[in-house]
Symmetry: D2
Subunit: 382 residues, 4 copies
């Protein structure tokens, strides 16, 4: 198959996630970045395009211009898909426009600024016939996929208990008071939405719990805190959860756990055993049993499921990390798009990337968790 042509919206100077998307997208040689509207400031967009060795004619001053002009290019020139890496308040419009104009879309999480937008965007995506990928990165790790497969195969029996925690410490101080671009938009309700930590990382934790277990949370009870004085959005929270099979759970997400570095951590327990995965030891999955020794399943081994094996690039013992997990989302998305282009059937392993459905779940979580944080009622239905 030919390399797909990629366009990007956002990801200009000072952005963190834009660079990650570019590395992830191109890692497997399946796509090439050929166009971009990298900033709402045309000069900054042009500068980024230049730095990335893009043709000047394919660097645009706005996403609307990009979509319009790319659409008018010959089919064998124009971009196949668009990656949108802007802050949350600038997700819905460009994604809608891209899908409606025939481009497949990769969108950074959380899906939109609010639930209403997410539900609408899901409808648009469903109707478009195009692929839509939401970058819940952690579902791209091979041992996360293995965890999902083991539970789906019934290895743990009925699931009883879920614990998931996403600890960060980088917002322990009032960082938005200084000129820190990442902190600024994430703590600003006009760009981030109603949630801070819960939207930025709580949604990752929530998605991971539902992804691995295959369950859906049905009720929650949240303690949502603004710990750092002067901050406008939550920087810490804990949530009690009930799932649709009767299991219960605890979710924690915090950006004021001083000294912590993204050590996303999940433990799931069933009737017969439990499993544990954590980001700092991403290439391992611990499986515990009632009556025999725990096991350490390791990425890259032949004993893993096809889903885990499909999502590694190197033999066992060569650690793969965050960029590879991110690249797995892109690779699966691209393989599906390529299959569509060639009228082929995507494999189940390729289809295993987060889509609009997961995005709506995430926005529902944000809406409810913030509502619960303010409520005197114990349990809210999701």
């Amino acid at each position: 198959m030919r390399k797909l042509r990629m366009g990007m919206i956002g990801g200009g100077p000072g952005a963190f996630i834009g660079a990650v998307h570019r590395i992830a997208a191109s890692m497997d040689g399946l796509t090439e970045l050929v166009a971009g509207a990298f900033s709402s400031d045309p000069a900054k967009s042009a500068q980024t395009g230049h730095d990335l060795n893009l043709s000047e004619s394919r660097v645009y001053g706005s996403y609307k211009e990009m979509i319009e002009k790319e659409k008018s290019l010959p089919e064998n020139e124009r971009i196949d898909f668009i990656s949108i890496v802007t802050p949350n308040h600038l997700h819905f419009e460009p994604a809608k426009l891209a899908l409606e104009n025939g481009f497949h879309v990769v969108l950074d999480k959380p899906m939109t600024f609010n639930l209403k937008e997410a539900e609408e965007l899901k409808k648009i995506a469903d109707a478009s016939g195009k692929y839509f990928c939401l970058t819940h990165t952690y579902t791209g790790y091979p041992m996360v996929k293995e965890a999902k497969q083991q539970i789906a195969a019934g290895k743990l029996g009925k699931i009883r208990k879920i614990f998931v925690s996403y600890p960060q410490g980088w917002l322990s101080d009032f960082l938005e008071g200084s000129d820190q671009k990442q902190a600024a938009w994430r703590t600003d309700p006009s760009r981030s939405g109603i949630a801070g930590a819960m939207g930025d990382i709580g949604t990752h934790a929530f998605n991971l719990a539902e992804y691995i277990t295959g369950l859906q949370a049905t009720k929650l009870c949240a303690d949502i805190n603004i710990v750092v004085e002067g901050r406008k959005l939550d920087d810490d929270g804990a949530v009690l959860l009930k799932f649709n099979n009767g299991a219960s759970g605890v979710l924690m997400a915090s950006q004021i756990m001083a000294g912590e570095e993204n050590d996303l951590h999940i433990k799931v327990y069933g009737e017969n055993g439990g499993l544990e995965w954590r980001h700092t030891e991403a290439n391992s999955l611990i499986i515990r049993h009632l009556d025999k020794p725990a096991e350490i399943w390791r990425a890259g081994n032949g004993y893993l499921s096809s889903f885990a094996q499909h999502n590694t690039r190197t033999p066992s013992g060569h650690p793969e990390g965050y960029l590879e997990a991110f690249a797995n989302l892109y690779r699966n998305f691209i393989l599906c798009v390529q299959a569509q282009l060639s009228n082929g059937q995507p494999k189940p392993e390729w289809l295993d990337f987060p889509k609009a459905e997961e995005g709506v779940r995430g926005m529902l979580f944000i809406e409810k968790v913030i509502e619960s944080g303010k409520s005197e009622e114990k349990w809210l239905n999701i």
Copy 2:
């Protein structure tokens, strides 16, 4: 100082914790077990006394008999203190009788069958002029003591967030259905009280959080579950907490986390950093900082606080474990009793063992956490 003479109530055939108390009490050569009422069945008591090489005349058929007869012995023969290691419903009466008859008391946790008993027992203990030790074992670990000292010294700044978890898996099945003595009484409301897991291990987690931080929980919101069908008491729960300085917390305690083995785990975060201790790596304490590398503080080193150093027996690198932590409670209790006997002053390090105050807090926790588990209201005051 002479060795103290110890009597024991409970700890007969099939008991687990009785043997632990005996090892812990005698580890440092500061005491000798000389009397016991090991079972309500006199034959079983006699058998245990025989197995332990006790003089027949000091093995009793009931605790009442023991207290009465020992009291009548000459001062230089009779026991100095009594360890009570019976199930919860048999804590209050023997402890009361022992204190009122002039014996110092070591009592297994939780303190009593219910809060009312605990409050009354605290009054009796306070009035008795005798030492009362409640065996919250985990506070005996040197690195737990170091954690407390570091927070007390302000190393982490104001505490913001506490996470504590006590995971077990041994009650994943309906073990009380078979003839398993440990499971039987712990899941029986008539012997254990209103709580199962929350009383058995939740109180340890709660005590650890309050001990290390020096804070008191003021509100809680609990999700309390009976997971295994047919069980009469909770075997799993999660609790949101608020503390008296404004910090928030999460406490988990479960006996159905299949494959887990007592890996009691606590993380505390303040303005300047965080700390982490876990039972499986009991000789280490991790201290995290905002802007510099995390540190691994290790038991037995000269850089530790006097409280940590006082509670180790071997140089750094020689792992000490559960029995040594338990022995630390006994040693500190005994050193205080010896000081009293010799009209000396106990050192602050010796006084650092759990007392009736901690016992009442634990019973209050049990009462409230079970109440919250049944309530539709979100936050209950403690």
Copy 3:
């Protein structure tokens, strides 16, 4: 700067390291693969070129053809550098030809088939004015670079002891008896040279020890074994080492440590402390001290040296792995080539990649370690 144009020799069907080179080279968007002689079988070469979306005209049937034809292309079309990823016996000739015809070279390790070739190739590289990079991947890890910087800055004091171990288990069986391409050439003296495990992974361990400490080994005493029956080259060995500052060391490399997966591990001790790095926890570096707690230095943090910081792509907490370490070699090499093309000065951080000098050291190690393995003499000078 423009993207560099890359050609590849080797890396056809069934190759492992070729794909790794392609991912690593392109990760940062600094280069593009435009030409290749992927196999000595022209059909296989063409197939690989096709799979990689290369222009047919730039896919060659032999490396000689590639070098000749590329040289004749206009300067703004022809490749800038060549990556050579063939088995060891096919390193020298293509590398020589590439350098002599004006191409910068990236060469997989070990440098050549024997020491003589290595020494000659070093002379050619030195005389060529071109950059030559030998892919000792592990020196690309940021925390390995941090280790080197800390020792260079004297943090550990004078180095006294070095331990380095490279354990693998994949050759525990007679894998070369089945049709396994990786095992076949690595255990074949006509393709691998005089050493098996010592050449394949022992050289990595040796290079890591010299790289991190800045020392040179001066004497060695080796125990070299062929453990698996029928094998023609060593699959296991241990080496006592003496270094030029008086330090001593131990190096282990084995491919029959059943169940092990490349957990390259190094510990270095000096007068004031020690450090430890291991491949399975590649984003951490442990620093130990005589009188204070050990520290865990973590990749991506602002407290690290410029060398460590330069070699990460994501903030702390996002694990980077083998492919990123490999990409660091390429990025530094490319940055140097770009600097040369633009008549600029390379930064010290860019120049920090393995060169011909390290390659000669590696071949010297191979020669001596195999000689020592057969010798009755205890110490051989290196």
Copy 4:
């Protein structure tokens, strides 16, 4: 059975290991210290006896006096066994005298001052009909026993490779230059013998390797170093080993690995898998396999061998440490003595403690390793 009566030689003021022996011996309530010759200075001996609440009449001014006087006591009063915890040069004479006068003996390692003494002492022990226990503590850990059992049962297949390392850092400075009792005798040839680190901790590592694998080393090649200026005995060394089944090995022992704390570590590899145990994680044993996930076997579980289960006191999840491992040696020794006293048969699990045979092996190792360190010959036969 009645408690055994114990006497002690050595263990006076400032001693480390004497206190450890006393805790270990009494932990299980199977013995009571009733007599001692704690120092060659009668006043110091008396002081220690007083501190330990011993009857004055049983505290002696010399070991000769103790053995003579105790022997003359009535059988139901006199000590059953003697623990000897003096520096190495004071092992042989008291052990010989004790055995020849009918006392069972526990002796600290290494066995004697030199090999000749050890061989003679073994003969005396063999002829005495008394039990002789040498305190190679690490063989008392339950997961070390599990390791031995798994290898004996053939789980790993034929053993191919052994790595054992005993790293310490406490002698990184010239500690014997200050008034440090532990450093002083260990670095003094007149009290320690011909070896420093190799005798003190190298023998532990050597014993562990032979104990776990059931193999015997037949050849060695050693690099023995005095790293700290002014020191009289080795403080660091590494040894290549050959075993009687053809396996090879590496042993490291050092007291100048700055920051290390007794993390004795062993890895053994066979045809089918490997195992790993380390002192800092003493309650775990890692078993690796060729084609399936590694397992973590944990102390206290029902799935362990009878040997491992016999040597724990608490259920799984309660860490046991150095004192319990030491106590396991004593318990097994005492159970054997009790069996002899009651004309019973000791169980295989009880007999599993280090004896004179292991002591001779250790002294042989010391003799040969120091000889090899000075030799130009590569391999010396053991």
